[in-house]
Subunit: 78 residues, 2 copies
């Protein structure tokens, strides 16, 4: 059974790189990764913030946020 993981990004170069290297590199047998662009899907900002996401790019797995390098603060996307 796969577990849900959500990768939040904002289209920045740091985000795109992390998406390619980490988010899409997770074991497909273990994780089902949803990619969410918070710049174009601002309706998901509250959900990301509630999960503890402070900046993008970030992965949320099992409710825990994992910030990968630094692209932009979440507050800059509102």
């Amino acid at each position: 059974m796969t577990q849900k993981a959500i990768f939040y990004h904002a289209g920045c170069s740091v985000c795109v790189d992390a998406e390619q290297r980490i988010a899409t590199a997770l074991d497909p047998a273990a994780y089902d990764v949803e990619i969410v662009h918070l710049g174009s899907d601002k309706g998901r900002l509250n959900e990301a913030e509630a999960a503890g996401v402070k900046s993008v790019p970030a992965l949320v797995i099992d409710g825990q946020p994992y910030h990968i390098n630094f692209g932009a603060d979440l507050s800059a996307l509102r």
Copy 2:
């Protein structure tokens, strides 16, 4: 063919969590992940720093550093 990835950590709780959630979650068909404890293997500090690692936990894939959350500065491990 698998690609080499190196996960640098220092045994901290943030490190252990990132190891379990990200480093060991990479697709085993695509990545061969080596786990390096920089607290007990200080001989690898220069190599990590040369790859651009500033803090642990961090993954280095294809020569690029990906810092995952923040556990400790590399300088604190010397």
